[in-house]
Symmetry: C2
DNA sequence: CACAAAATTAAACAAACGTTTGAATTAAAC
DNA sequence: GTTTAATTCAAACGTTTGTTTAATTTTGTG
């Protein structure tokens, strides 16, 4: 009973924080939308700040296991792994639009140094796994030398640029301004995947050395 | 006198909005840091919301002229234009870190539909100019077929991923956690430029057709 | 200097904020 | 069935919020 309600509050908070930001959401907003008494939020979480931390704790960090698994999988070629990587991140972000917004907008500003360090460490560990995947491709003479952390930024940044600037994204995708999550997701996901695979293939392929024919 | 003080308030507001968000900044914060009386903000701008709109009005939209100029320049090859594009955007964003944060975090949530539409239109017009540059390269058989809006997302998103997640960026760049703006900028700018030029060259080059040697 | 307009101020406003209280209700344990 | 603990509630707490007021000072003009 208690666990259900606790999680329900977190789900509602995720939606509101994602849409209106942490400072743009009041505890009363959350209580009303969740249909619980105002005092229950302090009762369960202690404070608004700790509610955010509980939310991050609940949602963050599950990607590491999957990346580690992908890294260790010896049945997949490095090229296959890059494709899987793209699919994994596009799906992950697009299926957690609100939470991703929170992480992107507020996580760095979270007052708790503990949470902030946790987020940085998660990102660094993910980067580590991806570094291994790419280095494996380089050792097998498939991938060329690239700036791996910047490439990781291109992967995540491309996705984020369309999840954060949604009204613009709707225009580009020829969707109505008020397209719902599902409509946006189903139009954006294949487009992002195709682009990112093409982009990373060209970027990584060892055949693509030397500068282009200057014309 | 009045114009000076008005602009000074806007500059201070930009800094605070950029660091703490719109909802995370009070008009009293702005007044205190700007050294002006609280009532002056209503006096000059009418409201906090209109102050944000005045800030966006002041800073946004100057990039269009530069892109148009770049587009029309016939002394530069399409490849040169791509390099210029990268340099332009990296410099522009890194020299306006706070304002870029505001645009990225809050602009889509601005209550004023007018401002929101203005921002979308600016982005669409910029996209139009860049589309022309790339199509020119395609007609000259230098560039291959790509998804231009998604590529634009990769360009802007890569930069944003390192301006928005700064503590993580400091780690990647081997900077202290508390690196100041200038230190961050001077380490990040050349790294971003080099990566994005390499990335876009590989992505655009017509020589890079076909899928990589699956291994 | 005199006068009107603009700029600045301290103080106050009502509303919204996060949080706490203490009593009332429900659930669990024996 | 009684007792104890966990949960829920309306109400209130003290701050902080954005904005306005009305008086005062400064500035520009004839």
């Amino acid at each position: 009973m208690a666990a259900d309600k606790r999680e329900h509050i977190l789900t509602v908070a995720e939606e509101l924080f994602g849409d209106n930001g942490f400072d743009g959401t009041s505890v009363r907003d959350i209580a009303q939308k969740a249909g619980v008494n105002l005092a229950m939020i302090s009762y369960y979480f202690g404070s608004k700040e700790k509610l955010l931390e509980a939310l991050i704790e609940l949602r963050a960090g599950y990607s590491f296991g999957i990346l580690e698994e992908l890294n260790k999988d010896e049945t997949l070629s490095p090229w296959d792994k890059i494709d899987r990587l793209v699919e994994f991140y596009v799906e992950k972000v697009l299926n957690n639009l609100r939470f991703h917004s929170i992480m992107y907008r507020e996580a760095t500003n979270v007052r708790s140094e503990e949470i902030r360090d946790r987020i940085i460490n998660i990102k660094l560990r993910n980067l580590e796994q991806i570094t291994k995947i790419i280095q494996d491709g380089q050792q097998k003479k498939l991938f060329r030398e690239i700036d791996i952390p910047m490439t990781m930024g291109s992967l995540m940044g491309t996705i984020s640029s369309y999840t954060q600037a949604r009204p613009y994204g709707c225009q580009v995708l020829a969707l109505g301004y008020d397209a719902n999550d599902e409509a946006y997701r189903s139009k954006l996901a294949p487009r992002l995947k195709a682009h990112l695979k093409q982009l990373l293939r060209a970027h990584l392929d060892i055949a693509n050395l030397g500068s282009p024919s200057k014309g």
